[in-house]
Amino acid sequence: MKWLFAAYAVIWLAVFIYLFDLGKKQKAIAREVEGLKAKLAGERK
């Protein structure tokens, strides 16, 4: 049973780490987009 647990744990962990990493990168880039938009708006003024 420990082998079964290990295999399924690895799968879930890998998928969650990948999703977490994607989410983290998305947030960072979204912040960058907002910053650049604000900079552009500031330059127009």
Binding site: W3, L19, G23, I29, V33, L36, L40
Partner: protein
């Protein structure tokens, strides 16, 4: 349009979650205990779908790479890159869950038989593909080189698939479309098919998130160009 996309995305996530619940129920409660191997055989229900998703993702890399080489449109390169990344994730899971099954059943974690070795080669090809993309700075050269590797690298996929049919290997023989002696009991086959469908949904869910990240990166590039022009 965005609202429609969000609704579709939410529906896809919800469908994937429901399918995953059904899969887990079938794997642990519906599928019978295998007589020889016992419960460890249940690893098979997530190991095989992981391999299926990896093959499917690499097939898409192959198709998108060919289209990119024919049309030189960045969109196809982006799709190929996203599929390769997810393919490597699932190929890694195949290479981890396989040995976890092998240790109690064969007594060893790994053996250099044709199926296992070719799967490791497949993983290395697509890790090389991702490294190439990471280290090449010129976007057009990167896309062209990656597309060529994406096309050539796919040759290993049919080799992995047919290896257990062509050569005598330690890896178990095919359970589907493998000849007279192959086959699964109906509840086991139903569980496997449901898990394959679930993993396919999971693939599209991950692909959607990966493509969203890419569209944000493209937006940053476009905004940086505009800031430079304005400055």
């Amino acid at each position: 349009m965005n609202t429609r996309k969000d609704t579709m995305g939410t529906a896809l996530v919800a469908l994937t979650l429901v399918a995953m619940m059904v899969s887990l129920y079938m794997v642990f409660l519906y599928a019978p205990r295998e007589a020889t191997m016992g419960d460890v055989q249940r690893i098979f229900y997530f190991h095989v779908p992981s391999a299926w998703v990896a093959f499917f993702a690499f097939f898409l890399v192959f198709v998108f790479s060919l289209v990119y080489l024919a049309r030189s449109n960045k969109r196809w390169d982006t799709l190929a890159a996203a599929c390769a990344e997810i393919g490597v994730l699932f190929c890694t899971l195949v290479l981890i869950t396989g040995p976890i099954w092998a240790k109690p059943v064969w007594g060893v974690w790994w053996t250099w038989d044709a199926r296992l070795t070719l799967t490791l080669v497949l993983w290395l090809i697509y890790v090389a593909y991702l490294m190439l993309r990471h280290y090449m700075t010129d976007p057009e050269r990167r896309a062209t080189f990656a597309a060529v590797l994406g096309v050539i690298g796919f040759i290993d996929v049919p080799l992995v698939y047919f290896s257990i049919r062509w050569w005598r290997t330690q890896h178990p023989q095919p359970v589907m479309a493998g000849g007279e002696d192959s086959g699964l009991e109906a509840p086991m086959l139903a569980t496997l098919l449901v898990c394959i469908a679930t993993f396919t949904l999971l693939f599209f869910t991950l692909l959607r998130h990966r493509l969203k990240l890419q569209s944000l990166r493209d937006e940053v590039d476009a905004l940086q160009d505009r800031v430079e022009q304005a400055g």
